[in-house]
């Protein structure tokens, strides 16, 4: 039986069209895009085409697109570029619900002497914008706020934040790894200075990321060496993956409508049915401003890892905000930041869909989940109380 994969915020399958576009660059077309000869040059022209495809998805200029190895590299590159371009500034701002790629870097910078403001969220995962704005100062080097949360799907008003941050002459970066491809983005009209995305979240392979850097933004390279990527990221290009990334960007534009209608309808059906059929269950996150493919549902009085393993028995693949799946002992920092009670945080399951999910799969999950939760609750000492 093929697995029913609803863990697309973790990673996505490589689209067949993307794989097809990439394959020749693993075999016959192996030239170095930086070479002077025609053999390498033909690969170089494909890399340029991919850059244009990604620029189109973001509503940006091709020269504003920097290929990296992953979302994490894009985040680190952006944040280090901002602080190294403003060495006199010692204050940085982020949120309590960032992905570890940003969260852990800010914690590291805090230990290195930076004053870090971490903006809290409310019970629905919405940002406390007053705290963010009040803390902007002449000493602030960078503000980094994710566009959409990977666990709850909550969308933050980054365009509005970016405008306020720019008014103060401060660099604004957004980790848009979950947002790109699922919602329209036009960087030309935006005040965002830098934006990170990751290929494997939108049906390109793992190992390819993108950093958008607005033209004119002060930039200090993270990797130094050759002159690739306009001297902003040295290293021979991961050509096959870049070409795959370009094709995936093109497909994302074509599928965005489907994501916002059919996928959203499937997500809503899954959510509504599970809340109806499983007592003591609730949605984590902003019910309004949310990615169309994501729902995080808390099942009270049961533990996430146990739920996931029973789901796995039925071939259903999802994620949990439970401590036990992460190797930590505390439930997800996102759910804790939102003040989700322990009764619910330990039993939270994230379902994240893609254009490849079908209604039959959603019906199957709806059919199996109540039994799984009931089985574990019958074992739980808290359920009878």
């Amino acid at each position: 039986m093929n697995p029913i994969y609803v863990d697309n915020n973790a990673t996505t399958r490589v689209a067949p069209e993307v794989l097809e576009a990439m394959l020749p660059y693993f075999s016959d077309l192996y030239g170095n895009p930086s070479s002077m000869h025609t053999f390498g040059g033909s690969v170089g022209s494909k890399v340029r085409a991919a850059r244009e495809q990604v620029a189109q998805l973001l509503g940006a200029l091709p020269e504003e697109i920097l290929f990296t190895s992953c979302g994490t590299e894009s985040d680190s590159t952006a944040i280090y570029a901002a602080i190294r371009s403003n060495p006199e500034k010692k204050h940085i701002i982020t949120t309590r619900v960032e992905h570890p790629a940003v969260k852990n870097l800010f914690e590291h910078l805090g230990k290195k002497g930076y004053r870090v403001t971490v903006v809290p969220v409310d019970r629905q995962g919405r940002l406390d914008l007053d705290t963010l704005y009040k803390n902007l100062s002449d000493d602030t080097a960078v503000v980094s706020v994710m566009w959409a949360n990977n666990e709850t799907g909550t969308i933050f008003p980054v365009e509005e934040i970016a405008r306020k941050v720019r008014e103060r002459g401060i660099v604004f970066h957004t980790d848009a790894v979950q947002a790109v491809g699922k919602m329209p983005i036009t960087m030309a009209d935006s005040a965002i200075d830098m934006l990170s995305l990751s290929g494997h979240k939108l049906h390109a392979p793992k190992g390819i990321g993108v950093l958008y850097v607005r033209k004119g933004t002060q930039f200090a390279p993270f990797l130094m060496g050759g002159h690739q990527e306009g001297g902003r990221r040295a290293g021979t290009e991961n050509t096959a993956s870049i070409i795959g990334m370009g094709r995936a960007a093109q497909l994302a534009m074509e599928s965005m409508q489907d994501e916002n209608t059919r996928v959203k309808a499937l997500r809503d059906k899954l959510e509504t049915e599970l809340l109806n059929r499983v007592p003591h269950s609730m949605i984590n996150g902003d019910p309004e401003n949310r990615l169309p493919n994501t729902t995080s549902i808390a099942f009270e009085y049961v533990e996430g890892e146990a739920i996931l393993l029973l789901m796995d028995q039925h071939g259903i693949c999802a994620s949990s905000g439970s401590a036990c799946t992460s190797g930590s002992l505390e439930p997800s920092h996102v759910l804790r930041a939102m003040g989700v009670p322990f009764t619910a945080a330990h039993g939270s399951i994230r379902y994240s869909l893609s254009i490849y999910n079908t209604e039959e799969e959603i019906d199957f999950i709806i059919d199996k989940m109540p039994t799984i939760i009931e089985r574990l609750r019958q074992m739980s000492p808290f359920w009878q109380r």
């Binding site: 290195k112 890892e305 796995d312 000492p381």
Partner: protein, 274 residues
Amino acid sequence: MWDYTNKVKDHFLNPRNVGFIDDFDGLGEVGSLACGDALKLTFKLDEGERIADAKFQTFGCASAIASSSALTEMVKGMTLDEAAKVTNEDIADFLGGLPKEKMHCSVMGRDAMEKAIAYYRGEAEKQVEGEIVCECFGVTDRQIERAVKENGLTSIEEVTDYVKAGGGCENCHDKIQFIIDDILGNAPRAAKKPEALTNIQKIKMIDATLEREIKPALNQDGGDIELVDVDGNRVMVKLRGTCASCSKSQITLKHYVETKLKDLVSQDLVVEEV
């Protein structure tokens, strides 16, 4: 995904002895919702004072459920003295091993058995012995000492794996390391832990430390520091002289001033420039 043995998987997917014995002889409850796992254990004795039946209810991950299931299977037929000798290692061994991060599940089983036996024997509910070291999971120094001694633990990570202490905010790591070092003979244990400071004592000590230790060092480089206020554990200071305009002043503040005050006054202090 955790690497579970087939026996752990079997006891998770087909748990034995789930339930609650209404006319129980022994009852032991451990853990909590906040901690992420909890176990309620009941047993019934036969006429020969051997465990005739044991049942469990568990909130927790696969290894917590498997450990509970294994424990109930192991103790059936045992006398209470025999059951009291079942260690967490015995439970883990019965399952063919547990991932190290999950050893606390087997400790939970052992603790529940101890409580259930104490209940039967009419022994008063044991008060939590010792001083809470890990606030996040409510683990005492005695519990940590026991885990270290019984399981030969040598690192904070191992302590966390076995009793959870240190797995939350990590503020207690220094104290855990102190206990480990003490047991392993790596460091002499202090005769007595310092009492909690009153606000006045704290302010006086901060002021004295600034005057005695910190100011002279800053003065050497033409800088100075002034204590502005103390609010709880927030120490508000103003840098003066060359320190005020130094590009590395925040590093001085965090890496030198705060470290000194933490070492010499209280680990909880946070220094801020105002």
